[in-house]
Symmetry: D3
Subunit: 320 residues, 6 copies
């Protein structure tokens, strides 16, 4: 486990820690000496570093995308923290805890998965229950579900974020369904479970969250329809209308053409699923926005939502 994170490094601090090398460039000082410009990364963020001495020697020992142990001194330079590196040494991936280098959910994935399974096993429709169990039985899928992020940037953009969002949405569905008559809760739950599950293939998330080629060219929506199609095909006597309704929930869950849904929500459950999915994502995103600047009641600007948010002084009282 890492003992020092990039975000915690302060001016004048003596540094000794593990980082991922996100960029490595050579330079020449005006005096003609070689030096290195590095960008170091861990799950808390990035930090700049400079190697002014023994640059050529040290440079031979590691590459971009390697994990390294860095020793040096922190300095504030033009308002940004920078490490003046004394020594840098490559470290084997096997000696490193991956979760130190990617942000992750505040909740335990195994516990979340257990809770999610318990909720989904309350489904009464035997066909939908069979579909749920078929997914649980797919070990690779469950393995990926425990790790996948909810998004690259917009909401739940961290390891296990997909599972955290899915679980929160299922609980929200149960609450909301109590308030109305005539909602097919089983359908809503299966929709809540599967609406983003294609994200396990849409993102790569070993050293950083990024789109896979498949994710970029097909998208999670289409990939999860393929997967669900396959699982349903393997279940005996799965009713055709029911299959169509499940797939419609996936196909329409972005709610509008401009957000990449090829069909608008056209069942009551599809309308509700889109609305609650959107709400759950927004609540997480807004609550985790940093302040615009220390002490400000305004958050940083959220690009996808196109605004900052105001946080009232009242909040503290409320949460007691």
């Amino acid at each position: 486990m890492k003992s020092l994170y990039a975000a915690d490094i302060r001016d004048n601090q003596s540094v000794d820690g593990l980082f991922l090398v996100a960029a490595k460039n050579h330079g020449l000082t005006k005096g003609g000496n070689s030096y290195l410009t590095l960008k170091l990364l861990d799950r808390s963020g990035e930090i700049e570093a400079r190697v002014w001495e023994r640059a050529d020697d040290l440079a031979r020992g590691f590459d971009k995308n390697d994990f390294v142990r860095v020793r040096g001194q922190a300095t504030l330079y033009q308002g940004k923290m920078q490490i003046r590196v004394h020594d840098v040494l490559r470290v084997e991936e096997s000696k490193v805890a991956a979760e130190d280098f990617l942000p992750k959910s505040a909740f335990e994935p195994d516990a979340m998965l257990e809770e999610l399974q318990a909720i989904l096993r309350t489904i009464k429709n035997p066909h939908l229950l069979a579909l749920v169990e078929a997914c649980f039985a797919d070990q690779e899928l469950m393995h990926l579900l425990k790790q996948a992020p909810g998004a690259k940037t917009i909401h739940h953009p961290y390891i296990s974020g997909l599972l955290e969002h899915t679980l929160s949405l299922l609980k929200l569905i149960l609450k909301v369904a109590e308030n109305y008559r005539g909602i097919d809760v089983d359908l809503l739950l299966i929709g809540g479970f599967l609406h983003d599950i294609g994200k396990v293939y849409e993102f790569s998330f070993e050293r950083a969250v990024d789109y896979t080629d498949k994710g970029q060219l097909l998208g999670h929506l289409v990939m999860e329809v393929e997967m669900v199609s396959q699982k349903i095909a393997a279940i005996t006597d799965f009713p055709q209308e029911l299959a169509m309704l499940v797939k419609h929930l996936l196909v329409s869950h972005h709610g509008a053409y401009e957000f990449g849904s090829p069909k608008l929500p056209q069942t009551l459950e599809a309308v509700i699923l889109h609305s609650l999915d959107d709400l759950d994502g927004k609540i997480q995103a807004i609550q985790s926005l940093p302040e615009k600047e220390p002490g400000s009641r305004w958050t940083a600007f959220h690009r996808a939502y196109g605004r900052s948010f105001y946080r009232k002084a009242l909040d503290e009282n409320q949460e007691e």
Copy 2:
């Protein structure tokens, strides 16, 4: 109480009932005889009527917008029901039950208001509670709230529809708030209570739901800010920041500029209020859409949402 409603009249039925005259036009048959074309209305809908005999005599006895007792015979004409009128007689408004002529909520307004007040009195913030009580104490406001429709056409477009929607939204807020930490429930409840309250002035709803001039030129959003401003001014020591946050909920509750919100939701509570308000309206609207045609699984086209909705055969099982 009316015993016969326009929507229930069948081919060849003998008709004797009370209606509102929505249109009254004179015509001449090719043979040169006078006749009357009427449009009759009650809360179930409209029906065409024709007076072929004694047209001039009977016409003198009533006008457009009068209530009348009509006797005659129903006939299907070119696929639409029509009354061949034998007699028509003006009836005093005092002898008529207004609710027979406007659709109304399936729920009792007094009971709904009581439940709404009970929920709002759980608010802990003393200033917001004072604001709530100031509204309850405004008898004219409460009187109008019990009657006002939720909209002209989009959702809850019937007498007491505003109250029904407001109550449903408050209950939904309570459910959703349980699912998250860090939400200011008191603010959300006051926002849910007041977000549409200006509709009591936006619509006239004596004989039909229509926009008032004020409603058309200012809108419920602006009128309710004025009203809330006034009530807050009368409460001692109401904190300025809190007043701003309450008004922001009103000002932003349509969620987007194109729906007439002069400001986007910029607090977590404003984002949630808009989302749940929108969802509650949509659920009511979709559930009350008639079928496209008898036996169809598709509903009639909803103009504001730009689509029809599919209703699965599964619905029945679900609701047991």
Copy 3:
């Protein structure tokens, strides 16, 4: 084969022909006599009809959606042709040629299919060729492909329209590919072949072209990805990247989110496929628009394109 089509009936003509009953309504004349209002249909269009005598008797013999033999007299009534019916008799579906009641392509489906197969068998990539052959071997698919329309209204809206459009597009692809270097023609051909193939399930086209429930809720784009997924899964060693590229062509072929593509075209071939598909559809649609009014150089208004088109007098010379 029908000898008389609705569109050819002229004023005062004596009528004896087969039609589909698209609407059937009862009425009462002012004198109290029963009569029938009918809407009769064949592939050339619709015509109104009235049964003034023996209406009740004749009405018992047939229903809406039946095929009937109608005898009577044509009359121009308020500028529209109408049949004054003397006799009407139900006809068994087996005695009727379905193609008389739906418009169809000017080209022979078997010949078109043969040409299409010849073109696709020029594909050199063995995996894509295997996919093509797997489709050809699917007899139900080929059967439907020969019949399915290209659309409900926008372009190629008639029996075998899908095949006609697909073939024309493949030929266009071959031409355009000659003009550029670096285009993967095999990919373009497979994309041209499969881009609309889901329409065989999107539409029902027995008595009229209409959307199926699946078509409305999932769309041809998603349904064809499912189908292609399944076919590819059955081919040994189909390269994953290639599968992704084929599906990307389907997923993006509408070219923009607002037209229901969940992904924008992101390969050169996807950009070209979208462009040529769009162009081929537009050429057919514009060329088959009727005149705005007889003798006008302007076509009727095309709703989807939002305009009329001007046809120059030069056209004739040009085509010689």
Copy 4:
């Protein structure tokens, strides 16, 4: 009064002047020496500064947002002017003329207010005149009106800019009204006077123009409706229809939903007010755009209007 402005400083010039400290950061030279990076501001713009000597000593004497006296030498560094600071000293706010640090109108606020009052006192409608006088009698309002800017960036973004714009608009209204019959000039004048008056609360403008929290969450449009509501309530017998028409002018003056008007202009006067307000703002904004580069006929790019403007050589002749 300041004798030296940031924008006038030239290469190699010896500097001695008063500035506002907009940013202050510490750094370490490669040789390990402390230095300071400053951003200095006055109403003419910003300039960079560096303290290479006695950095720690001098830094203790002042903070960000302080006014300071700076002595040093100007140098062009990478194409931008920079001050090499020899000495820096905190100066009491009371010893500083605020207007030196914020751009301001070229016109005298008292004279503008007088002219504005004279125009508004030509209003004949006694109720509207009473409303005008109630505003004039509100000393805090008049005090703020003399200072408030017209906007943060788009047009009239300087001290007294709101008053300058309001006065120019009133004069324009008088001119335009002469050209048409049937315009209610009194209404237009009151609308011109009040349409932006909420900006006195929307912006803070002590050391820089910025949005207040209220301005950001409610907007000037809603705040001025509240204010006008209050003033009207205090006037005896103010006609309800007139109040509605005045408020409609405020509520609709941005002209379109996407610019934050919750209602479109729905009276002739509202249409005219929006049009002239927009025009007056644009003329000021375009005329005060700097050149794209010295000698160019094109102005700098205006972000809100999305373009540069061409200024013809003819201008000079024209203005004689």
Copy 5:
């Protein structure tokens, strides 16, 4: 001069007047008798007519688009006025005053043209003055300008409407220019004069206002650039920059791409011209909208502006 206009015909009135035949259709009564359905037109509007007797005889005497003298009796039929025709007779075009059949400006074209010329001759720039005189010298152009409508439907849609709008705009320009410094009034005047002059070729307006083929395919904007290009080419030493600025005014005067301007206004004068052109059109359009229904304070719905307008009771007082 016509003595009776369609809009003035009342129930039971005996009719004898001149009309344009806008539609002529034959029909058969249920009893088998021939009758005619006519649509008759004059500048006040349309009226329906029926010929029940001697239909075949009378029909032979006139055609669609002929002028006719009609005698008969007016009747209200299903809420619309209708003439029961006794006699109808073709009238030579030469015996008819064209202006009786097209709505026209309330102002005298010759007087308007004179005023327009006087204003334009105040232009000081000799090149622009030469351009103005070249236009005045073009007799066909002046002849068409006196007659052309301002639009088909949106604003000034009547004979001489273009001239009325152009003159009103020039006067508005003079007023507005007084309010600002640095505006090139000569440029604005020439732009005001020429901005819509291509409409003389865009519309045909003999018997009704309609688009010409050229108008539909090229538009007035492009056609007037061609015309102005030609006129400028014939003027010695017309400065190139000035020509560019004049054409830019034409090319950008619709103000936005979506209204068919290929370029946005990029000079101060182009911005002002677009704004005032738009305003003048809107004022005329709103002022001439009919009431929604008799006695209503709301106007009929204006399709292009997407709304109705409210007319206050105050208007009368104001206009005295």
Copy 6:
């Protein structure tokens, strides 16, 4: 001919080459010494340069926009290549080959023009052929056509790019026309030839591609209508309808209002021209995008198309 291009310079390389000075700024080192910051340009791209010694002396010898001979040493500085200049000397424009400093087409302009003329001389319509010959006879036009770029950035943004695009489009038109009946190929060819010809006046392209003032204020679309108008006027008996159709092709060739077409394509040929023009531009643009980073299958982001493109590994095989 240049022997060394900016893009080919490597770390530590000794530099001696001709460049265009795109920027020249003075600076002072912390030690108070003068230095120069230069941006040097040739057709391969830009490179930074610094003059640390004899800066004031050397600076006197050349200016921004001069051609210079530069000698020095290349160094990688902060990841970007930079020249440490030892000597710099102004070079006469006459001694420089302009094409070394602007990117140009890979094809020979004279050969392209010849091919283009051959194609256009296949036009059968004598009037259109006359128009083509009139353009060929315009030597200044032909001279400019051989040099003009296709655009500033979007597609074919290099010397002779307009000609390359025009020729490619003409060939594409010939191919596509073979696939359909009823297309007027002559019209399409003339449209393909002239649709962008106004770009010869829209851009200046001596030392860099930029918009001319005319290009910015009028646009190539309007300027080429003017030019074609003039040429047609000089041809005897050119049919008016044909002239209108040719101009319509120009006026509508951007295909949509938002792309600056004042009219939508309203003939079959205009629809096809827009589609093929768009396709040819996109193919060129996508094929010439650089990789996102070395070895990536994704291209750099294309701003106008709003995306990156994926290039499959299959490409190589395909092109053999």
